[in-house]
């Protein structure tokens, strides 16, 4: 029976090649999108899974509650870990781990340098690896990371540096200028879906070379973190009391600013909590994952709607078969099984094609994520399970309703072909078309708004000129610092170089240093001032406008602040001139305001301009901003690199254009824009081939009516209008239905930007025009053919 069903299914699909093609195309494109979305979501959800005792592992984070805002850091104070180990009951293990970047030099046996690279290095206490269990190929963390100057490498790093794992053991590597580390352990490579992309792990004691003040409870750096494993049977709430006591002792009693507290964050949340940083620099909000899942569901639903519509429309053609089968003793259940078999065959064919499409799309998808993630169609058994579920889901969703309808025909009527489907009034088919097009229109509107907003972000004047300004990293060691003035002197001689300014960061940057301060003797409690350290050339180089006073004098240390208008507004000064001479104390000394700079966007346009104080501080210039002439960019850049490498031979050259960096801040929005464009195209494609199928069917069904009307004198245009009418009305209604939902979605998305386009009516109107126009073209194409058919041919055979 089953084999026969398959055979019949195949013959039926073949007989209605056109509709089968439409169904398969729609389903396979929809399924391919779903598979790709699933692969992505699975990758994201698989982060930090599979560690032993995962349920008891927590990261300690730091939260602040200021009057005006909350702040969050993934880091803890340096003394935290040691203190917590002794004072908080219920901890089985606690281990600190910190991340920095530094330059690693590898020398061969003769002492000649063979490799130099800038790497993220981690400083970890051995206890950390009792919490996060990873496989060690050589050595044990307890011994390997016990002594200062010992280092453990991942397998890949060992191979990169020394050719093989065996070769690496006992070898030494140089970090920075002088620190000699000896390789004492090798551990497995960390997977891509890990928040711990460990490659080089150094004994924790070495960290103290970087952080002098080991006793500072309000110095928090997000890269100094601490992990703990709770005792068996305990959960986070069991430690609430102990944590509260601890927070009181070290923060409240010490009167540390901002109601600073430490809190435990479960391992499973690290990848999904965007408020806190992590070592992999990869977080994704669960909301985004759900959003993608919903889009996937939308796509597959529209494809299913095509199927349902075409199949119920064709149901009449199969009524005879149903009637005959029923009087031969076929039960309704058996007929349902037969029709579902047909659907499943179709879905399986669609799945095959979907797999091919996915395979072809995967490189593009990896490209979208800058090739940092490698996806694979057959990378994980769960993907197969998903495919099976997908087939079952689609088969059922798409197949069940038509099967119910068709199998429910009354045999006496069915045999005489007298079955009538509810063609008038509010049939399910019409509702489905409206739903399908409502989804399509929502995606079209979303795409238009996102594209507009991205254009707006790119075109909005930021208040400074950063074109052809390149930021070059500057080494921070003393020898290199001493060479800066000579470097600058030589750089300015390179043809095409106009200006150079040493600074902390470009005007728009997400690397934020902020501090509390007293203004004219009174402690400010409302906000933290963002500080920016630059030399005096910065203003000219970035074309920043001074609206009162002047730029501070050339100096190695802060001798005067230039503040922005927002700062003045926040401290309540209306006239810029009045601010001059007022004292700001952010560093322990009172320093006067010497100038006021016109507001410019110092953060991505998702956020408002912050109150800003700019001053000189030679020790905090990490970069050189170099203004180039547009004409000879490439040659100037090459010369800068050569000069840099000669001047700072122990370091690694790194340069990028300010504009590229700014673009980088909108990476996730950029990806979202592309995804929306892709999904909107897919859904438009699916919806409109569905529509094409439906109009083809309607036209075929009404051929006789059309012919008779023609004989009675209807013009082709009138007939086309008649056939088109209901479709255009349905799409119009779909637009009306879609608008409120689209409005909710886009206004929510836009609210994430401090600077955004005004949401006007026209994206909605445009979406309507697009959808109506495509509908009109699709439908007219087919209905014109029907209206233009030869009347006699039609009537003769009736």
């Amino acid at each position: 029976m089953f084999r026969l069903n398959l055979k019949i299914a195949w013959r039926n699909l073949w007989k209605n090649k056109g509709y089968t093609l439409i169904n398969i195309l729609g389903l396979s494109v929809g399924m391919a999108s779903c598979i790709l979305i699933f692969i992505f979501i699975r990758f994201q959800l698989s982060f930090d899974e599979g560690y032993k005792n995962a349920g008891r592992i927590y990261r300690v984070v730091t939260d602040w509650k200021y009057n005006a805002f909350d702040d969050f850091s993934a880091g803890v104070p340096i003394p935290f870990t040691a203190a917590a180990r002794n004072e908080i009951a219920g901890i089985e293990k606690i281990g600190a781990i910190a991340k920095l970047d530094d330059i690693i030099h590898i020398k061969d046996n003769t002492g000649r340098e063979i490799l130099k690279s800038q790497e993220n290095v981690y400083f970890a206490e051995p206890d950390f690896f009792d919490i996060i269990n990873i496989n060690w190929k050589y050595g044990k963390p307890a011994e390997a990371l016990k002594a200062p100057n010992s280092v453990a490498l991942s397998e890949a790093m060992a191979i990169k540096y020394f050719g093989s794992v065996q070769n690496a053991i006992g070898k030494s590597i140089t970090m920075g200028t002088k620190t000699q580390l000896s390789v004492t352990g090798i551990f497995q490579d960390m997977p891509q879906n890990s928040s711990f992309p460990l490659k080089i792990v150094i004994a924790y004691q070495n960290l103290y070379n970087y952080y002098g003040n080991r006793d500072c409870w309000d110095c928090i750096n997000s890269s100094l973190s601490s992990y703990m494993l709770l005792k068996e049977g305990l959960t986070r709430s069991d430690l609430d009391g102990a944590m509260a006591k601890f927070n009181k002792k070290y923060y409240a009693d010490k009167k540390i600013e901002g109601n600073q507290v430490n809190r435990l964050q479960p391992l499973s949340e690290i990848h999904f909590d965007e408020r806190y940083d992590n070592f992999a620099n990869a977080t994704i909000a669960k909301g985004q994952i759900y959003g993608l899942a919903i889009i996937g569901l939308f796509l597959i639903c529209t494809a299913c709607i095509n199927f349902i519509n075409l199949n119920t429309a064709q149901a009449v053609n199969r009524s005879k078969e149903v009637g005959v089968r029923k009087v031969m003793g076929g039960k309704r259940k058996q007929l349902i099984v037969q029709f579902l078999t047909e659907t499943v065959v179709l879905v399986l064919i669609a799945l095959l094609i979907a797999c091919m499409i996915s395979e072809l799309a995967i490189p593009a998808m990896q490209n979208l994520f800058k090739n940092q993630i490698s996806f694979s169609l057959f990378g994980h058994p769960v993907i197969f399970v998903f495919m099976v579920l997908l087939v079952a889901f689609v088969g059922f969703l798409a197949g069940f309703y038509p099967a119910m309808i068709i199998s429910g025909f009354n045999p006496a009527l069915a045999i005489k072909n007298k079955v009538t489907l509810n063609n008038n009034g509010l049939s399910l088919r019409k509702i489905l078309v409206v739903v399908q097009f409502a989804i399509t229109v929502i995606l079209i509107i979303g795409t238009i708004v996102i594209v507009n907003q991205m254009d707006y972000l790119q075109q909005k004047p930021l208040g400074f000129n950063s074109s052809t300004v390149v930021m070059v990293g500057m080494p921070g060691d003393q020898v290199s610092k001493d060479r800066r003035s000579i470097f600058k002197e030589r750089i300015l001689k390179i043809p095409g170089v106009q200006l150079l300014s040493y600074c902390q960061s470009p005007p728009l940057s997400q690397d934020i240093n902020s501090t509390n301060f007293t203004f004219n003797g009174t402690k400010n409690k409302d906000f933290e001032v963002r500080t920016c350290k630059t030399d005096e050339n910065y203003f000219k180089l970035f074309d920043l406008k001074i609206i009162a006073g002047k730029v501070f004098m050339k100096s190695d240390t802060a001798n005067g602040y230039v503040v922005n208008e927002t700062f003045l507004k926040k401290v309540g000064i209306t006239k810029p001139e009045n601010a001059l001479g007022k004292m700001i104390n952010a560093t322990g000394i009172n320093i006067p305001i010497v100038g006021v700079v016109k507001d410019y966007n110092d953060k991505s346009l998702k956020e408002k301009i912050s109150g800003l104080a700019i001053s000189a501080d030679k020790n905090q210039y990490w970069q050189a901003a170099i203004k180039l002439e547009g004409k000879q960019l490439v040659s100037s850049m090459n010369q800068i690199e050569t000069l840099w490498n000669i001047t700072f031979p122990n370091n690694i050259y790194h340069a990028d254009f300010v504009d590229d960096r700014i673009k980088g801040y909108y990476e996730s929005e950029h990806i979202m824009g592309i995804l929306f464009k892709v999904f909107a195209s897919v859904i438009i494609f699916i919806s409109f081939i569905g529509l094409f199928g439906l109009i083809s069917f309607v036209a075929m069904q009404r051929t006789r009516e059309v012919a008779i009307r023609k004989v009675l004198g209807a013009s082709t245009l009138q007939l086309v209008k008649m056939l088109n009418g209901s479709f255009l009305i349905m799409v119009f209604i779909a637009n009306i239905v879609a608008w409120p939902m689209a409005y909710l979605f886009v206004s929510k998305w836009l609210s994430g930007f401090a600077y955004r386009i005004d949401l006007s009516l026209w994206p909605f109107v445009l979406a309507m025009l697009i959808s109506m126009l495509i509908t009109f073209i699709t439908v007219s194409f087919r209905s014109y053919k029907a209206a233009n058919a030869n009347t006699i041919d039609v009537l003769k055979y009736e």
Partner: protein, 226 residues
């Protein structure tokens, strides 16, 4: 075998009852070959549909093989279709997507007949109707008469005790029609299968042994053919 008592069928339209059948009472015994005759719209097909349980009478009772089947649930009705009733249609109603062989096999599959038994029965039928060579053809590759042969073979596959035929030769040329009628006669006489057919043709009616004349929903005449 079939006992109809005061069968009425009407469609109510705006309070007006349009009668299709009025007070039909008749008995059809095992082994009879009954032809239902009458002008268009007389209610012949409705009567056959009621006998075939495709429609329910509005009033009256119907006993099939001693059992009251006036209103029967689907499960029981399907049991009767599987074991006792075979249908033959004017437009043959073979399933277009299935070959001759598969069409004949379909009712056996529903009846859950074992595969070897199935094969032998089908072979037997193909042989008997001389359509062995056509078993792999699809219905649209056959002539009307051949299609109707397949239709009858299909109806016989489940070894029913009664065949209900609605104008079985209505779409056929006379030569083919004769062939089909001869076949019915043979089935009735040799195999003892009860046959009820609806027909327009006096000539076809003569093949049977009893004629029910119907006009305006009423049995006007019930004659036995010599």
């Amino acid at each position: 075998m079939i006992q109809l008592n005061n069968i009425e069928k009407y469609y109510a339209n705006k309070g007006v009852k349009n009668y299709v059948l009025r007070l039909v009472t008749t008995t059809i015994k095992q082994g009879e070959f009954v032809s239902i005759m009458g002008p268009s719209g007389a209610g012949k097909s409705t009567l056959l549909n009621i006998i075939g349980m495709l429609e329910e009478p509005t009033y009256g009772t119907y006993e099939f093989m001693g059992e009251d089947v006036t209103s029967l649930n689907e499960r029981k009705r399907i049991e009767l279709y599987r074991n006792h009733i075979g249908f033959v249609f004017q437009a043959y109603h073979l399933i277009d997507e299935m070959t001759v062989y598969e069409n004949i096999e379909a009712p056996l599959l529903y009846k859950k007949v074992g595969s070897s038994e199935r094969a032998s029965r089908i072979a037997d039928l193909l042989d008997r109707f001389n359509i062995v060579a056509k078993k792999d053809l699809f219905p649209n590759q056959l002539s009307g008469g051949q299609q109707q042969l397949v239709g009858i073979a299909r109806a016989l596959a489940a070894q029913p005790s009664i065949i209900l035929a609605d104008e079985p030769t209505g779409n056929l040329q006379s030569a083919q029609a004769e062939e089909i009628m001869e076949l019915f006669k043979k089935l009735n006489q040799e195999d003892g299968i009860t046959i009820i057919q609806v027909t327009h043709s006096e000539k076809n009616a003569q093949y049977g042994n009893r004629i029910l004349h119907i006009a305006d929903g009423v049995v006007k005449e019930d004659v036995t053919v010599a």
